[in-house]
């Protein structure tokens, strides 16, 4: 009897599947629909090159993220600067 009770209180696996799929498909579609997803990797690469002209940074110091809001997208660029003591400023 206890076993039966156990199963009856669990949500059915099909509804768990549906919920998980809705989340993953929504995520996949957001990524696809972003107008920026196509050129994001290139943008990141070029940004690193530009910043490197002036400051020595590592590849992983530049982070780019696109955030979706209701009807607009936010492009968030985060550049972590190294310790000021080792910053080498290039002067032209």
């Amino acid at each position: 009897m206890s076993l039966l009770n156990y199963f009856s209180t669990q949500p059915k696996s099909a509804s768990i599947a549906k919920e998980r799929l809705q989340i993953i498909v929504a995520h996949q579609r957001r990524e696809r629909s972003s107008i920026m997803s196509d050129f994001l990797p290139d943008l990141q690469k070029e940004l690193i090159e530009v910043v490197r002209k002036y400051i020595e940074i590592r590849d992983e110091d530049v982070n780019i993220r696109v955030e979706q809001a209701e009807n607009y997208e936010v492009l968030e660029v985060n550049i972590a600067l190294p310790d000021s003591s080792i910053v080498k400023i290039h002067t032209k």
Binding site: A14, S15, K18
Partner: protein, 284 residues
Amino acid sequence: MGNISYLLLRAEKLANQNSDPKIIVVTSGKGGVGKTTTSAAFATALALRNYPTVVIDFDVGLRNLDLVMGCERRVVFDFVQVINGECSLNQALIKDRRVENLYILPASQTRDKDALTLKGVARVLEALKKRFQYIICDSPAGIEHGAIMAMYFADEALIVTNPEVSSVRDSDRIIGMLASKTRRAVQNLEPIKEHLLLTRYVEKRVGRGDMISAKDVQEILAINLLGVIPESSSVLQSSNAGIPITLDQNSDAGEAYHDAVARFLGEEPPKRDKKGLFSRLFGN
């Protein structure tokens, strides 16, 4: 009144037969969900309705459509050889012995998928368009070169999906590719018409809550549901024998495929004593 609608239906049928040839890709992303079974079933059902139909195996290196169609011993030349100009299209096309108007273009078994080029595929499809009303492209699994070749020139797509998480997710990936990596997408033309075909459906398990329902899959993928094919022992039996399931008069799966083809052609599926899965689920 009945007469008028009958005439309209006839007119529509005639218009269909005279309309531009259509390229249909049968795709899924995930393997083993029933692409080849569906390609064989669909092509056969269309030919049975007198539409000149050819079905092409795009799974270069892993050819199987010939087996499911029961013509494996008649394969002499293949799709890649036609592309490379090593034989003529006519030499490679195999005429079905059971159904008028039905031809098979087999894949090469010795090459790999890179043997297909956009230019080569385009040339063969153009030649086929002059002879056939429906050109069915049986896609390989995956999202790589072979799958893209199969979908690139399509006008319509049958997305074969099992009511199971990995298949549904992969189908969504394929829907994304249809909308971005195909001729219609690249040239900014009217998008490919997508149809969802749910296969290996077990209504009992849906009722018990351990299989996702057709309604839920349709809601998640948000594309037109063309048909629901029940899990059926007759599918394995027919592939064992090399007989497309739509030639089996007694198969529930075959019947469901015929109904899907009727919906595809914009007809009302025939009324039956025992209603099909789709009708019971969606009431038409």
